[in-house]
Symmetry: C2
Subunit: 476 residues, 2 copies
């Protein structure tokens, strides 16, 4: 197995940071193509290691290939470079020399793969795709939940990259907890991306900050994803919303970072009964690991044992099942406010908590106790005034959505997958979508530089025709 030192040294020496955008775009295309070419083999391997369905995994390969190609498009378009040219203006105080600025790759990036998306947030997932697109070599720490798949994808990636002309050291896989700890501390690593648990992410974040030269650590850790139902919405289509909720929180075993884990329903409504009616559609599923299965059962048991909790949908005897049967519990807002630590925590797996709120004031009181989330959802009716509610959710979540479900994260220019701690360690960037590339870039300004040392993107002639800002004016 490759050592961390060997992997990082090869990354440092790879010269990837000097590769052109067209070269990197070709690498990304090659990686997408190799995933597709080996789809059946990879899906079978993934299914055997993760318990996820073949249909879901097949779609995830498509998503992952799309994501790789999406980032190829992002770098070819070129505006992500923020290329900027200021002509000299000696009349200013202080005088302005000629300045040409753009973003350049930070250097070798450590990627910590997640368990719940063995393709899309793993070896060739969003962090790796965006880092390679940025021009950073990548060392992936494999998730122990799918070791064989990780190794096979790494093998295919290494071959595809070599064939596409990427230098040795562009990509490597390391394994094991010790390797993960050594990786974030290695002086050659310049940034890290992580998707996983709050405990694991925090430990690595702390190591990244404690370095002699600290590095940015972009971790996506945990999220409750509150959903708020207005009285009008439940009155108009409570049954439909209940069915949508059951579909969303149980999707792929509820093992999504965007799973709706907390649903606010008007106490005066019959939403809880509507969910009970929809519950039989919920499908039991084996969870990713034994640890998750046990943790899910433990939290479900703790909630069910609380005297104020109503079991809305649960295995017959309210006990743990294998495969894990989805669990819906309901409780009054008063009980949540009395014990927020019990109720307002993430439970990975198919569990959701319905909070019955008496009025808007009480709703806002509970929302004020919630930590940062990736998403916040509103179900409302046309014409309802939800501006106040939206303003509260905007403070809590990176993506606020309406009359839909937070599971399913589109790969788009306008996506935001991040949120206040602990949703992400640094809420200022996204880990999905075009802007995820910004995490791996650092600015450089050239002052009065001879054309011979400038990147093509900053030459007067703009030979690549990218969008640029010239003397403060954006030109596309």
């Amino acid at each position: 197995m490759l050592s961390v030192a060997a992997a990082v040294d090869a990354a440092v020496g790879s010269g990837v940071v000097r590769a052109s955008r067209t070269e990197r775009a070709a690498w990304l295309e090659a990686l997408a193509a190799t995933l597709e070419a080996h789809r059946d083999e990879l899906v079978a391997l993934a299914a055997s290691e993760t318990q996820l369905s073949e249909a879901r995994l097949t779609g995830e390969v498509t998503r992952t290939a799309f994501q790789l190609r999406f980032f190829a498009g992002v770098i070819l378009e070129g505006s992500y470079l923020e290329a900027t040219i200021d002509e000299p203006d000696l009349s200013l105080i202080p005088p302005r020399p000629e300045l040409r600025r753009m973003l350049r790759p930070l250097g070798p990036v450590a990627v910590y793969a997640a368990s719940n998306f063995p393709f899309a947030f793993s070896v060739l997932g969003n962090d790796t795709a965006s880092a390679l697109a940025a021009g950073c070599p990548v060392v992936v720490k494999a998730h122990p939940g799918h070791p064989q798949l990780s190794r096979r994808v790494a093998e295919l990636a290494t071959a595809a990259l070599a064939e596409a002309g990427a230098p040795a050291g562009t990509f490597a896989l390391v394994e094991g907890m010790d390797a993960g700890i050594a990786l974030v501390q290695h002086p050659g690593i310049r940034a890290a991306g992580f998707t996983g648990s709050e405990a694991g992410g925090r430990a690595l974040f702390d190591l990244a900050c404690a370095r002699l030269a600290p590095i940015p650590f972009y971790g996506e850790l945990g999220s409750l994803n509150p959903v708020v139902l207005t009285t009008a919405a439940v009155a108009a289509r409570g049954g439909e919303i209940a069915a949508g909720l059951v579909g969303s929180f149980t999707r792929d075993g509820g093992q999504y970072c965007t799973k709706p884990g907390l649903v606010f329903a008007p106490a005066s409504s019959n939403f809880v009964a509507q969910v009970a009616e929809a519950y039989p559609a919920a499908v039991a599923q084996r969870l990713l690991t034994a640890g998750m299965t046990a943790n899910f059962a433990r939290i479900a048991g703790e909630l069910a044992a609380h005297p104020a909790v109503e079991l809305v949908g649960a295995p017959g005897d309210g006990e743990a099942s294998e495969p894990s049967q989805p669990v819906v519990v309901a409780v009054a807002a008063e009980a949540v406010l009395a014990d927020p630590e019990l109720f307002l925590r993430e439970c990975f797996g198919p569990l959701t908590l319905i909070v019955r709120y008496r009025d808007e004031a009480q709703l806002h009181q509970v929302l004020g106790c919630i930590e940062g989330s990736l998403t916040g959802t509103v179900h409302c009716e046309p014409g309802e005034d939800v501006t106040g509610l939206t303003a509260v959710l905007v403070e809590i979540a990176g993506r606020v959505l309406f009359n839909g479900w937070p599971t399913g994260v589109a790969i788009a220019w306008g996506q935001q997958h991040g949120g206040p701690w602990p949703a992400t360690t640094a809420a200022i960037h996204s880990s999905v979508g075009a802007t995820a590339i910004r995490r791996w870039l650092t600015p450089i300004s050239y002052q009065e530089a001879p054309a011979s040392v400038l990147p093509a993107e900053l030459l007067d002639a703009n030979p690549h025709g990218i969008p640029r800002r010239v003397n403060g004016v954006l030109i596309v």
Copy 2:
């Protein structure tokens, strides 16, 4: 004196994050105007507390007012919002809903003022200006080097903001080391900006990272600012370069974060003799504080005591003087490589070290030992191939400049004031220039949102006419 808790609570409750861009632009204009209206009084106060010349301080007020207005222009232009609209595309995997994304203010920002720019990097300096522009209320921790000036500027700022309609809590000043420590740890603070020493910045950075919910800490700590002279440049205009160096490293007592502290000259050249000739133009100056004066004398003494060091220009007896007399020392690259910790460290004040390099290999060897810097400078002749040298400096520094001097940091769209650790804690952002605003912003995506909850900047009609990206295409 205002307590940290009172200041932050007022900031949290201020509602500044909901102010419009035009409102904030008016606040920035009002702050610029009040500085100008009280210029004479403020300059006199600053001169009495800092030892800096009235001419320099007068220019700094102009710079600071320009900077406030510059950020007003940046927010009115609007592209800093990164407004993005994606229309739905259900043919994608996963399907893409309608997404509308932009940046919004993070929330209350802590600003740690610097001593060496009592206006431009202090109470109403770059961090405060960019944070208010972003829509974040600001709590400034005053630098103890100019307490009366800080209080007077804060008083004027508070009055100007109130008159311009800014809500209470938009701005506050706190004082003292304990307040500084409490400020970065206060849960209501969402980000911090710092300009100062490596020791102080690191201590605050560590506190920011150790919080229950960590926050981004943007610190500008220390910088050597290497300058490389080619053989051809010294041959063609060594005398001129020597005079420029003496002017730059002694400017305002050498108390610039961009002071050229390390100059690489070909061992075969007579550059050291040329600097000795230019040295008599160097002017002694009192430094900002007694601590800096003592530290400067100590480092100068340690260097002068080294057997390999040549005193090129120094007070008659090579000892400390008051006011501080500039010091130039020279040493062969071999000696630097033998004791990098002695030679490759920042000395705040008018001191520069000339390193005589034998050949390019040796030059690169020493450059390989340098930590991150804000700037890297090349003096070369037309037609010389300096691409290799530039590539090395780009890895070390955030701004690489040619045939000039790094002191003097223009306020521009294309500026980059930052660099690898310890130049800045996070090399991915600038603290000067238009992009400095990005440090105080966080993304929000609205999915399938009713128009009634959307910011004007994301409405279909684009009522403010800002640059936006629609379905991946940048439209200005």
